[in-house]
Every structure is written in structure tokens, then in C-alpha cells.
């Protein structure tokens, strides 16, 4: 399990966030919300092992994260960064297959089965044979999603801990694919026991699909808890700096609907 205690994160020695303590539990989707510049991506990069924490403890399976070799870490931690790019034109299939690079032990047959599954999960099967750079932004995003699903599911045995980190995965997607992506993430967390951390901008999407929410403000944690507990006007005002109204959702009374302004 990935566990952070009293974590300070930042780049070049300047802390953006302080005192973050959290656990990424298997089977749970943790949403990260915050205004622009609140430190969401910095937190994700720190938890992913890309940048060293400035202070505090960060452990994966009781080992300090920074002591785990890159190729070992890649077998249990998967990241979808914001706005991924590509320098030369690769085929869609090769990009999705790159997700299996940390698992050279997979047979070609196992790889084919896995790719067919993850391409279908990301609704990218239709452009398997196309070139990546010929796709639209939203289609590229779905291909990248298929790639990280490949890495998160490759050779996974039941009960094995895997963590999937997504940085604004819905940014380029139309509403239907935003819903499909988060539904897939949520369903995989339950069925495969994946631990998921997802940075989102849309509070209502987060309320619908995340089990717990982490709200960042003023260089620290503003709230951490279930959507019902944390999506309340004073917290939202502190996080986003605008007045917020919280209503029961017209489609499902158990859910919150947040309106700003």
C-alpha cells in the first residue's frame, strides 16, 4: 500500500504543499481537487516517485518509495500525466503495448489478450490500426488511457497491490467519454482491487465517481473524506475562493450537486 505521512512536496526546495497524510487503499478511488496552482500535480509527481518529498514519510509496501528501482516501481505504479505528447509518430497499438514494457515475461498471446481488453475498456479499439498523431486530442487521450490500463492490469494476480495515478484524465474528453472513463476507473478499482488517485477539476464528476476526496488549499490539506463530508459550502469557499451552493442531485438524492457563483 502507498502511505504518505506528513509529506511536504515541492520542486527546487520550495514547498508547495505541507502536512499531507494519506493512504491509497486497494479498491478505492481517491479524487484530488484544488484550485489552479494548489499543488495537485506536484502531489501526484511526489506520490509517483518522480520528485523526492521535502519532508515526511512516503512508503510503498513498507519500503521508502525513493529506494525502489524504476523498473520494479513500474510494475506496481502507473501514471497518466497531464497532456501527454509524442515526438515521432507511433502506431496506436505500439503505444498501448508500451504499457506492458515493465512485464517482459508476458507471452505474445497474453499480450494480445491484454491489449484487446484494455483497448476495449478505453473505447479505443476502433483506432487500433491508426497512427497516433492522426487522432484527435480526445482520441489520443483514450489511447494513453488504454496504455496505462495495460500497465496497471498486465500480469496482475488477485490481491496484488497496484496503484493507478491519473492527472486530469478527462481534460480533452467529451461528456460521454468523461463519464465512460471514470466509470471504467471506478469499476476496475472494485473488480481488480486497484488503488486509484485521480486529479480532477470537475467537482460534480468527482462527487459521482470518487470514494474519497482530498481537497487542497493554502499549501495544505483543506479536507479529506467522503464526498458527503467534504463537499460543503465553507470548504468549497476555502478551496476555490468562490461561493458555492450544494444541493441534492436531481437524478439521485444521495449525491451532491455543487453549483458555483
Amino acid at each position: 500500500m502507498l502511505v504518505a505521512e506528513q509529506l511536504s512536496c515541492g520542486r527546487n526546495g520550495r514547498a508547495v504543499l505541507e502536512g499531507v497524510s494519506l493512504q491509497l487503499l486497494p479498491g478505492e478511488v481517491l479524487g484530488v481537487l484544488g484550485a489552479n496552482g494548489a499543488g495537485k500535480s506536484t502531489l501526484l509527481a511526489t506520490l509517483a516517485g518522480e520528485i523526492a518529498p521535502l519532508a515526511g514519510q512516503l512508503h510503498l509496501a513498507a519500503k521508502p518509495l525513493l529506494h525502489i528501482a524504476a523498473e520494479t516501481l513500474a510494475r506496481s505504479r502507473t501514471v497518466l500525466p497531464q497532456s501527454p505528447s509524442l515526438s515521432f509518430d507511433l502506431g496506436v497499438r505500439e503505444i498501448v503495448a508500451a504499457g506492458a514494457y515493465p512485464f517482459p515475461e508476458l507471452s505474445p498471446r497474453e499480450l494480445e489478450t491484454l491489449l484487446a481488453r484494455t483497448l476495449a475498456l478505453a473505447d479505443a479499439t476502433a483506432f487500433t490500426a491508426r497512427r497516433y498523431l492522426a487522432l484527435s486530442g480526445g482520441e489520443q487521450q483514450r489511447v494513453q488511457f488504454a496504455r496505462v490500463l495495460t500497465q496497471a492490469l498486465a500480469g496482475k494476480v488477485v490481491g496484488e497491490y497496484r496503484v493507478l495515478m491519473l492527472d486530469e484524465p478527462t481534460a480533452n474528453l467529451d461528456p460521454r467519454h468523461q463519464l465512460l472513463l471514470l466509470r471504467t476507473v471506478s469499476a476496475l478499482a472494485k473488480s481488480e482491487g486497484l488503488a486509484v488517485l485521480v486529479v480532477l477539476h470537475d467537482v460534480n464528476l468527482a462527487a459521482q465517481w470518487c470514494d474519497r476526496l482530498l481537497l487542497l488549499a493554502d499549501g495544505g490539506v483543506a479536507a479529506l473524506g467522503s464526498p458527503d463530508e467534504v463537499l460543503i459550502p465553507p470548504v468549497l469557499q476555502a478551496v476555490y475562493g468562490v461561493a458555492a451552493t450544494v444541493l441534492p442531485h436531481p437524478a439521485s438524492a444521495a449525491r451532491r450537486l455543487v453549483l458555483f457563483g
Binding site: 507511433l90 491489449l115 469499476a187 476496475l188
Partner: protein
Amino acid sequence: MSSPTTPALTIASSPLQLPRGLIVLLALLAVLILLVLVSSASGAVRIPFAELPRLLFGTPTSDEELLWRNVLLEVRLPRVALAVVAGAGLTLTGAAIQALFRNPLAEPGLIGISSGGALGAVAAIVLGAPAMIWLAPAAFLGSVVATSLCYHIGKRQQGVGGLLLTGVAINVVCGSLIGLFTYLADDNQLRSLTFWNMGSLAGATWSSLAFLAPWTLGLCLLLLRQWRALNALLLGEREAQHLGFAMKPVRRKLVLLVALIVGPLVAATGVIGFVGLVVPHLVRLTLGADHRWLLPNAMVAGAIALTLADWLARVAVIPAELPIGIVTSLIGGPFFLWLLARRAF
């Protein structure tokens, strides 16, 4: 995104169907073998094509056949073999450097290997090296020093930009020192300088190939095995790191392999430009950027390109010959311009 329990579909390609990259690779190998035969038969001394097998494997029965056999074995074949080895090495390293820098305009020259080697050789000539035999180690030393310098200064900067800028700076330093040496050189030395600067395969001997060929091809095999890391690099340095390729060791390994391949080649042939730049680009246009197939195909295509250039250099102005670097630049330069004009990078 259907539900996670969607049954697995099978993707089109059946296991029996050969990958396109493999088919192209086999075709290129066939072309290379044919070209090697044609090239060894032609030149100032024309050898009948049909006689090749008998000359290679039989015993000569006349004075003419003895001459042909000597030309073939002692002059042509080592030279063609050097063209194959140098073409393969320069192009493979070009493809790898382009992926490492994620820039289609990159080539080994960019990080100082070629100009370092040139500086080493030019310095040896002008400072009065007693014999041509000193050129090779001097060039090798120059490339290795320039590349290590480039790497050690470049790695202090974040990302690949630092390495690239350092390479540019080192090229400027080497270029100006070469200019200074050229200015100081006397007439005799100037002739050697020109000859060396333009590149040449004329110095090929079996004894130099006995080291160069296994060295280059062995290191090329090691570089071919890095195809996953190079593919991951195309996705970005962060993404490569996420996929388990720790960037610092991967960069160090790639730069070292490239320097170890190109250094001795520059020492043996002088500066042969454009092969490492244009050929990988052309293969990428044809086959796509998947390094699993791009790398071996670029290697064979590079061997073809340099063998072809060497053949042209020898048959264009019989009985004289053109410096091969001039031929590769004459063909490569306009061709590159045409590529640039035809489609945006």
C-alpha cells in the same frame, strides 16, 4: 469503455502473418547482398559479374584472373565491407540519437562525436604526426573526449535540452580549432586535411576491419536491444520513467554506446555526413517510428546507402574517384531539402 468484464477480443494479426518490418528487413538484406556483389565487380578494373563466385572460391587459371582476384580480395571487398559496417553503424546511432533527443534533426555529429574526431585528426596532421597511422587513435580520442565532455556538462542541465546545447557549444569550439589548424597548415598538410575532412573508405584493410567489424556490429546488437527504452522515450522522459526506464542510466548507456560505435568509425573513414541523418528519417517515413523494426531496418538501409554512395564515388569519374563524403552530401543534402519541402516535421 465498456464494462471491465468485456470478453477479450482477438486483434487482427494472426501469428503466422509476418510483421511488415520483418518483410522489409529481409528485402533490404537481399538488396544489400546484390549491391555488395555489383559494387565489388565495378571500378577502374572491371570484373565480369559471372566470374565472381569462381574468383572467390576457386583457384585462378590465368594472369588476368589472378589480377581480378587480387583486386577483389585486397581492394574491393575490404572497402565494401567498410562501407557496410560504417553505413550500418552511422545510421543505427543516428536513429538512436534522434530518439534520445526526440528530434528528427539530431545525429551523432550533434553531440560532438564527429567534430571531436575531426579535431583529433586535424590536430594530429598539423602538429606533425609522423605517419598516417596516428590519425586513427587521435580521431578516436577526440570523439571520446568531446562526447564525455558534452555528456558531463550536459547532464547538469535538466532534460535533453542541456545535452543538446552543450553539443552545439562543443561543435563550435571544435569547428573553430579546426579552422585555426587549417589556417596554420602548410600545403602538404592541407591536402591531407581535405582528404580526411571529406571522408574516405580508401584506407580499408582486412587488418583494420578485423577489429572494426566485430566491435561495431557487437555494439550495434547491444543498441538494438534498447528498442523498448527508445519507444518509451518517444512518449516523453516522464513517461519513460513511469514505464520503468530510469532516465539517467538510460541516457548514459545510450550516449556511451553511440560514442563507442561512432568514434572508431570516424577514425577509420573520416567525416561522412548525412547518412546518419537522412536514412533513419526515410525508414521512419516508410515503417513508422516503432524502434523494434526501425532500428534493424535503419541499420541495413544505412549499409545500402553507404555502399551505394561508395559505388557511385568509384564509377562516376573512372579512373579517378570522388571523396565519399562529397557523394553522401551531394545526394543527402538536396534529398533532405526535398523531404523538408514535402512535409512538415
